[in-house]
């Protein structure tokens, strides 16, 4: 679809948003709720992202992590100069927002659902989980399989406990700490023991690429068709609107065509080292 110069200009200009609330998730990860300084709130869908701008520092793509139809919420991990500045932004701080950008997870209308998240990859899937909980009767089995680095690195710990009643929640860590009485092991291993009917299941997977690949392989081994496994890709997104090409993955631009893809669309591309 052709984009006019005016539309492009509008897409490249950040809107000022105020930090309305902030909550510490882990030692290096914060969840921020943002509200527009002026105008209507953003309409965002789980899976989409915005370009979040710490003025004077820089801009990064961050997935939305709030409730569908709710305020703009981002969970940000401080891993560099920009994300450190965003995580340090106190209430009332003004941040720039471009977007929302990209496509959304294809929220289902029934059947079984398996959500597999690794590390900060739970943030882009949090909206899917909210939707599952809110429309629980619309689905059959619903499983959230979540793996973190250590127990201290797990996100949304209070919500994980609350989600255990409506959903199968299985949490594992790569490395335990003293006192941890939960599971230890790689998250993809949880796929083998989750309750769901592979023939009726849709899977949503987000995390580091190797984690997504091994999780997809485990789902395929259980019998989930490749076209019903969805992953969220991450590359060096800069313009966010398909102009600069930094996020190109073979024939696709992740900011424009993704970040959510069917597994059979990206499996081959993910295996190409040069990409």
């Amino acid at each position: 679809m052709a984009t006019t110069a005016t539309e492009t200009h509008a897409a490249m200009a950040p809107r000022p948003f105020r930090v309305a609330r902030r909550e510490r998730e882990t030692a290096d990860t914060w969840t921020l709720e943002l509200e527009p300084v002026q105008g209507d709130p953003l309409q965002v869908a789980p899976g989409q992202f915005t370009m979040l701008y710490a003025f004077g520092v820089g801009e990064v793509p961050i997935s939305v992590s709030g409730e569908p139809g709710g305020p703009l919420v981002h969970t940000v991990r401080a891993v560099g100069a920009v994300t450190e500045a965003i995580c340090a932004a106190g209430e009332e701080t003004i941040l720039g927002v471009r977007g929302p950008m990209g496509n959304a997870w294809p929220l289902g209308t029934g059947g079984d659902v398996v959500v597999v998240a690794g590390g900060i990859g739970l943030a882009p899937l949090r909206g899917v989980v909210y939707d599952l909980v809110r429309r629980r009767d619309a689905f059959g089995e619903a499983a959230l399989l979540y793996g973190g680095r250590t127990p201290a690195d797990l996100l949304y710990r209070d919500e994980l406990e609350r989600w255990r009643e409506p959903l199968q929640v299985d949490v594992t860590v790569d490395a335990a700490e003293p006192g941890w009485e939960g599971k230890v092991g790689f998250v993809a291993k949880l796929v083998g023991s989750a309750r769901f009917d592979p023939a009726a299941a849709t899977a949503f997977v987000c995390g580091p690429e190797i984690m997504m690949r091994t999780s997809a392989e485990a789902l395929l081994e259980r019998g989930v068709p490749a076209e019903r496994i969805f992953v969220s890709m991450e590359r060096n997104m800069q313009c966010g609107v398909g102009l600069c090409g930094h996020c190109q993955l073979g024939p696709t631009l992740i900011c424009r065509d993704g970040p959510v893809y069917r597994w059979d669309e990206v499996e081959r591309l993910m295996a190409v080292r040069e990409l």
Partner: protein
């Protein structure tokens, strides 16, 4: 209660074995129960048994001086606990503890080794299946060693 034969047919490690082989293996098994927190075996002890988890979770641990027990991995229903019974010197390399109330099937290692010695086809099948368990555990461990959830930078 499900018979041991029926259990063996369902678990990945024994799936596809012939009924006669399953019967031989089942003959070395008995159902057991452990309360939460019970120790199944300790590092350095003689490894003359292995377990198939039916319900519950088992933690593999090692004791780190000045730190205490460190949990290395957890094992779930359908998984095997212990392969040291199959390889000399038949000693456990880790502790195993029931993280929850645990129901399992315990298999007598000496009994199985005897049947494997008498029936090399069974021995080969057992060895190749436990090798597969070892490979899978190694692959999962390698992935954890990558520290995939560490920092990548902006």
């Amino acid at each position: 209660m499900e018979t041991i034969d029926a259990l063996l047919r369902e678990v990945p490690v024994f799936r596809g074995l012939e009924p006669a082989q399953l019967e031989l293996i089942a003959g070395c098994g008995s159902n057991v129960h452990f309360d939460q927190g019970a120790v199944l075996f300790r590092e350095g002890d003689a490894a003359d048994i292995f377990y198939l988890v039916r319900h519950g979770t088992v933690a593999l641990e090692t004791y780190v001086p000045a730190r205490g027990p460190a949990m290395i991995e957890t094992l779930q229903p359908g998984e095997v606990v212990g392969w040291s019974w199959l390889f000399p010197p038949y000693r456990w390399h880790f502790d195993a503890r029931a993280l929850t109330d645990l129901r399992a099937t315990a298999f007598d290692g000496a009994c199985l080794r005897g049947k494997a010695d008498a029936d090399p086809r069974l021995g080969y099948d057992l060895m190749s299946r436990f090798a597969q368990v070892l490979i899978e555990r190694l692959q999962w461990t390698r992935l954890r060693l990558l520290d995939l959830y560490g920092h990548d930078g902006d």
